[in-house]
Symmetry: D2
Subunit: 378 residues, 4 copies
Amino acid sequence: MPKKIRLGILGGGGDSLIGVLHRVASFINDNYEIAGAVFNADFDESLNFAKEIDVPVNRIYKDFDTLVEEELKLPEDERIQVCSILTPNFLHFPMARKLLDNGFHVICEKPMTTTYEEALILQKAKIKSKKVFAVTHTYTGYPMVRQMREMIKEGALGKIHKVDAQYYQGWINTIIHDKKKRASVWRLDPKKAGISSCMGDIGVHAFNMIEYTTGLQIKSLLCDFNYLYGDNQMDVDGTVLIRMDKHVKGVIRASQVATGEENGLSIAIYGEKGALKWEQEKPNFLYKLSDTEPLQVYRPGHAYNSALSLDGTKLPPGHPEGIFDAMANIYLGMARAIRGEKYNDGEFPTMQDGVRGLNFIESTVASHKQGNIWVNLD
Amino acid sequence: MPKKIRLGILGGGGDSLIGVLHRVASFINDNYEIAGAVFNADFDESLNFAKEIDVPVNRIYKDFDTLVEEELKLPEDERIQVCSILTPNFLHFPMARKLLDNGFHVICEKPMTTTYEEALILQKAKIKSKKVFAVTHTYTGYPMVRQMREMIKEGALGKIHKVDAQYYQGWINTIIHDKKKRASVWRLDPKKAGISSCMGDIGVHAFNMIEYTTGLQIKSLLCDFNYLYGDNQMDVDGTVLIRMDKHVKGVIRASQVATGEENGLSIAIYGEKGALKWEQEKPNFLYKLSDTEPLQVYRPGHAYNSALSLDGTKLPPGHPEGIFDAMANIYLGMARAIRGEKYNDGEFPTMQDGVRGLNFIESTVASHKQGNIWVNLD
Amino acid sequence: MPKKIRLGILGGGGDSLIGVLHRVASFINDNYEIAGAVFNADFDESLNFAKEIDVPVNRIYKDFDTLVEEELKLPEDERIQVCSILTPNFLHFPMARKLLDNGFHVICEKPMTTTYEEALILQKAKIKSKKVFAVTHTYTGYPMVRQMREMIKEGALGKIHKVDAQYYQGWINTIIHDKKKRASVWRLDPKKAGISSCMGDIGVHAFNMIEYTTGLQIKSLLCDFNYLYGDNQMDVDGTVLIRMDKHVKGVIRASQVATGEENGLSIAIYGEKGALKWEQEKPNFLYKLSDTEPLQVYRPGHAYNSALSLDGTKLPPGHPEGIFDAMANIYLGMARAIRGEKYNDGEFPTMQDGVRGLNFIESTVASHKQGNIWVNLD
Amino acid sequence: MPKKIRLGILGGGGDSLIGVLHRVASFINDNYEIAGAVFNADFDESLNFAKEIDVPVNRIYKDFDTLVEEELKLPEDERIQVCSILTPNFLHFPMARKLLDNGFHVICEKPMTTTYEEALILQKAKIKSKKVFAVTHTYTGYPMVRQMREMIKEGALGKIHKVDAQYYQGWINTIIHDKKKRASVWRLDPKKAGISSCMGDIGVHAFNMIEYTTGLQIKSLLCDFNYLYGDNQMDVDGTVLIRMDKHVKGVIRASQVATGEENGLSIAIYGEKGALKWEQEKPNFLYKLSDTEPLQVYRPGHAYNSALSLDGTKLPPGHPEGIFDAMANIYLGMARAIRGEKYNDGEFPTMQDGVRGLNFIESTVASHKQGNIWVNLD
């Protein structure tokens, strides 16, 4: 294995949860070292954090543009190779674009951009750059999600005719029911948070999970949002009827007011010959249903799993790996791609996933705003 | 307690599953005796079955009209008091109507009628008759469903803002994917089975469960069916967006092609203060969710349950009661009503539930056929 | 099918839980009618109860001896054929013995007798009588327990090498921690309740479940009881090391102070090729484990189940049947035996199960009292 | 926060699973850097592995003694501060002893030593050294195990009267049933693997879990092993009756032939007022049972958890953390201790846990070999 990949980090300093997630994920398979960063908009805080976690302070930059400028001055074999973008959403697009244009690989937090239009522009930049790009639909990194994908690809379900995906959380209850809070929080301000709260933040994961596992594309949708209060302008709940083909239909359900739900992403795929079900909160159990055979429960690490699934498991069966490990699998695939090693479709979510996601989000808003009509995706 | 109630049975002879369910349910609380019957359209089979199960053959009649005619000749204290209608769907309406008009109480299998129009007519007949009428939305007889209703009534969830109900089965797969079978089976022939397969047979249970547990009414809906094949005219899968109020929304999902699902009815009700979830296949577990407290699992028979719930449990906690017991609870409530004893709302599903169900079914079909538009319920 | 079997009931009147269980179980498959009874030691209460549940009062007797005497005067085709003994434990033996001696079949609640010596005497009486005898180890009536037995019999697990059975309840906490209550309750008085509380009441079910499902016999055991307080003389908790063969070992764990446990009977059987696990509180799920294949979950009513299992299921998959249905299956097997019809081993627990159970209970007490030494069963 | 702690690694090179676990755990909270190592007995392999994972090769030593010698020559602020011992079991004792004697802190894989005698010697060395020592009972690092400990400490269960811990695996089936394999594998050779296989490798975790969560000490035990074959000398299965006090009893069950079990460690603690149950394979669910209240399910990351538990969670509720995170929590507590920061009992398993473990293992063997007699622990 070659030397560690030089990773730059944008955002994610201090107590940032997403910062911990990416940092740990990058360490897990011994593939990355943090070579430089702008951890924080405040340069001093950025420096202090670098000291705390022992990142060399000479490559902590005062801002993103400086990072790009200074790194480009370094010889290629010292220069940051890939940047993880963990900044506020509206910065994803300009940062990712500039990084690609300047020859850096990119790992971009979700949403990839704030609009579909930006996503398409970014896609062109990516193609032109010939760099590797990953968007962190983290949940696709779970071994049993990968197993789901591979089993479907190999025909375990036969022709798929129905999908049902859910992403239920309850955390926005503490905000939404309080008139002052819901008027002031950035999450519910379309100017700051983009056009969609619930569907943009979590519904899109359910969407991605469907396309990732089935290999099918959602062609059209009809969406109904719930704003819960007349003075709230952002969806906090929504249901989306989806069609993949004339006779292949399904539903995506997402909510931030599903009281008591923590991070309730789940998916069920039904086909002629069988079905597969998975829940994010019990990620190490994959259920295979049949009309005629006993239900089967697949577990990570067993030889009966696919190569793609086994690649994402580090310990023997019965040793629970979690979401850090799922993200680490994405970083692992990305490392292979950066090094030009062989890797497989499905090892990390790509630009294409990001583009599809924005297309989905804008379509749900369009459907809802026009009175719950059918809207085609590109 | 007075003497046993004299029960007449229409249909349900031989190996009929629904026959066993009603017969056992009627026995369970020692309230009923089978006084007469038309178990089968074939008189000889009816007689033989009566002998098998030791029902007096002198009150086995050759057909329904004869039963009514002959029973009316008997003195009131010998006459059948209540009839259970277990015949094919299209007979429910005429039989129920005639029974009510002639002074019999009625327990009617679902669907109560084949059209909403008939349901409204029957409702008038019922009111005029002053007789007791139950429609067998059996699942409402489970102690934990009753507990759900009572907890919501007492405000455990605060204002409800979202509901999600599912009824997934997979059994029609063996028919629908076979061109010959799907062309010939009565279930998928609109002339024989009515206007809806999936929504009429099972979706309506999910609908009823929502209204039963929340005490709210669904005001409008938008439905998308899946027929799966161009040559099939009946829904075998469908998703319904529902609205109970401007900001109270939800979804009903029903399928007969959810491969590997057995009898997957489940319901989740989310309110400002908490949520409740229940699954039919694990009926003795009721989950109470909170954003701030540990999840709670309610179990039947404990003193912490409501009176309505405890009334439906016969044994101490940990002794699983099942669907026969759920139906028996409905028969128990009905017995009290027939005897003029005190009973409570929620002890059995009424004519009103039947009427609402037909309104729902026809609305889903109307919505789908007009291109997935919003349709108001009455 | 012949006419209903004439059933006599001893005990079980009023609100008796065991009374409801047996009565309902006898009704469920349309095989029995209650022909006579001594529901209660108080003749008036017995009569009143008979009126309530519409049993002919002319065959309600003032006591057991009268019942036997009077019934014997009746012609054979009117006479009670089988009696269910639901009386206090110390009456089981004399009643069962007299019934057998006088040509009645017997369904006897557990424990069959209060001592092993009585059990052996009763066994002889049974053999001499040529009558059918069942002891109600109810849990063996569950379809998935039967499936477990059949799968093991057919070699699904290969050679068995380990068993682990548990029966945990918590109900005696409310008594045992209160000095007055524990001194006064009959359950903890060896003179009234027999030599063992926890092992005699519930541990013996776990014992029976092991022998029923595996077809193996427990040959020796070592037991440690917990009395919890120095002034308490009855076991409320105990663990039993068991040996079926030199290299086939296991453990039975029973408790009445397992706080919060309701009726936690479970069993796990491990063999060379696989394992089976089952829990009473989720009776319709049977887990098949393998070192190399995905875990399988067997569910009642599917064609993949054995004939013995399917015989115990009345409705299609997904319709939960419960403990009343388990007991009904035992009554069904008993009905076949009484009528001289073909039935299979395993349809109901026999005299032999009762004898083994008493042997087990006395052995656990002997082991504990002698300082936790190994004791052989016969 | 000070600079990273300089960590030395002994063993764990190449594809070693335990190596990955410790390395990742050390990275997760940004507290450690690998300063030196002997990854492998083969120096070249050690060097190659160091290159692969970018550890400076100048501090990769040819053997353990050289590492100690050379590191001692370095100034204190460059020298390795703590060593993780991941070598074969028989090396744990001499390495740990020498490290302590030379002023290094130690993180030692389990078993701490191969005999109780060694453990006592090591304990003295540790006390003399004033260094920090952790033994990796990894499972105590799970947030919900910590929550269990804290709830018990705060009296949530009242007086504890029963414990039941299980550690079931099935992996040795592939070896034990094959005469050649079982004769040749080092795991079943007492000369190589120590006096106990099943109890020494996994039973001891169950033992530790009981003492960790309850704060009680097991005072005596009676053990029965199963060797499964006459020609096998090592326990592959065993049950241990335990006593913490005259009326506080329990059981430890361990097996390596529990076919199909993966890593089935679980624990149940029953007290006067309630009970707590936890399973390693679903580590993020903690069950609180009560005789009178609904069962409660505690989940990590919620404010209702104790400080000790919350300290071990990095992400919000619903984001599953796993066994790498559990080990990382132990490394985190160790880091605080090494830096002389404030930390709490329970943040990592100590020398005392190691000593108790060896005492337990030797006692089980003594009990079994002497014919299943009671043996006192020190």
